[in-house]
């Protein structure tokens, strides 16, 4: 993986190969777990970074729930390499990994991602047909059991925010739900999107503040400050409802309601130039600055056990 081109976008098969290479090169640190299958039968791979122990507290990171947000999957690759490179050299990450595990799903929506490479670069949803409709796919970030089907999601299959027929109806979501529940010790749930430069915490479905709003807010400030320290990229932060819009059935609201306090959605670059078509030469700078925000949250999670 040293010669892997991190400054280029890659196909799904290249990403799967990368994952296998990383595992092969780092057998004592990285393993691959297949938590399920997508609608079209692709594996839902999660990389587990662990230095040992059983059922340690853990951090969940996912990328690519919306398939056209290519910077997120590309960043996921970079994050994975960063973890193996920094373990043993970066004291903060080393301390985290000596006590916690990190789970990284680089491509939550592989069917959609494949479709963006082959047919429609701007596809967002899954590729599952909707009975009774000619429109395809579900918005995986409206399919979670957190005020499912409420305001900010659509019941219309042609909408880009179509929630699906029922909560967790999509295997891509259900697989994560089952995994997180069976693990039982996930302490942070971080979902990476693009391109609005936002750091959001629960709730999205209600304007009622989360019980931990004060802590989540101050940690968000720390994370976006760290992120901005590299290239000056400015993020807005706040609750999903306040900083973005009302959205029901989202992953972080579900995670928070499961008792995972540190639940955040990151919206990576960029605002107003390229949108979903961020040039490849911006992958590494974007991933690098995002990593600073992730590290702030991961370190806080480690330092503040609950």
């Amino acid at each position: 993986t040293d010669s892997f081109d991190y400054s280029s976008y890659h196909t799904l098969s290249e990403i799967y190969s990368f994952q296998d290479m990383l595992v092969a090169e780092n057998p004592n640190l990285v393993s691959k777990i297949v938590i399920g299958q997508s609608y079209e039968g692709r594996p839902l791979n999660v990389l587990k970074f662990s230095t040992g122990g059983t059922n340690r507290p853990a951090i969940w990171i996912d990328n690519g729930i919306h398939s056209r947000e290519w910077i997120t999957q590309a960043s996921g690759i970079w994050f994975a390499k960063k973890i193996v490179t920094d373990y043993g050299t970066d004291p903060t990450l080393t301390a985290i990994l000596d006590n916690m595990d990190i789970f990284l799903e680089m491509v939550i929506n592989p069917d959609g991602f494949y479709y963006t490479h082959t047919t429609n670069r701007l596809w967002r949803k899954t590729r599952k047909p909707n009975p009774g409709s000619s429109c395809i796919g579900v918005d995986l970030n409206r399919n979670w059991d957190a005020d499912f089907g409420g305001p900010g999601a659509s019941s219309y299959p042609c909408s880009i925010t179509y929630s699906g027929p029922s909560a967790h109806s999509e295997s891509e979501v259900k697989s994560i739900v089952d995994f997180v529940k069976s693990h039982g010790n996930i302490k942070a749930f971080l979902s990476v999107h693009s391109y609005s430069q936002l750091l959001l915490y629960p709730y999205g479905y209600t304007m009622t503040p989360a019980e931990d709003q004060a802590e989540l807010d101050s940690l968000a400030l720390k994370a976006v400050t760290d992120l901005a320290s590299l290239y000056g990229t400015t993020y807005t932060y706040g609750s999903f409802f306040d900083a973005l819009y009302q959205g029901s059935g989202t992953s972080i609201d579900w995670a928070y309601n499961q008792g995972i306090k540190y639940a955040y959605t990151l919206e990576q670059r960029d605002t107003g130039t390229y949108g979903f078509l961020l040039p490849a030469n911006q992958i590494i700078p974007t991933a690098t600055e995002t990593w600073l925000a992730l590290m702030a949250i991961m370190d806080h999670t480690y330092q503040n056990p609950y």
């Binding site: 081109d5 280029s8 701007l122 819009y245 949108g275 040039p279």
Partner: protein, 99 residues
């Protein structure tokens, strides 16, 4: 393969509640075949929307008729997509060469 020749991405910043409401109406209109890259959130918050070439004139006229200002964020989407595709190909070629 779906292509996007001449499609533009417009950036619209609603200045008041009236324009915000106009944007929300636009979001619900199917006839323009719009694809909202950044949805309607609030006053002064940018809305980015992909407009197919065959509806560009109508959408721009609609916005202008409502005194809503917009800017062109991406002039021709396919040009960017072609560039992205070419970059991926050349990166893959370079990788094969290294191997």
């Amino acid at each position: 393969k779906k292509t996007f020749e001449g499609h533009q991405v417009l950036r619209i910043i609603p200045k008041d509640d009236a324009q915000l409401s106009l944007m929300k109406n636009l979001e619900d209109m199917n006839e323009f075949e719009l694809d909202f890259w950044r949805g309607v959130t609030g006053v002064s918050m940018p809305v980015d929307v992909r407009v197919p070439i065959h509806n560009l004139e109508s959408v721009k006229m609609y916005l202008e008729a409502q005194n809503t200002e917009y800017s062109v964020m991406i002039k021709d989407l396919q040009v960017l997509l072609d560039r992205e595709q070419e970059e991926m190909k050349s990166a893959a070629r370079a990788s094969q060469h290294r191997n």
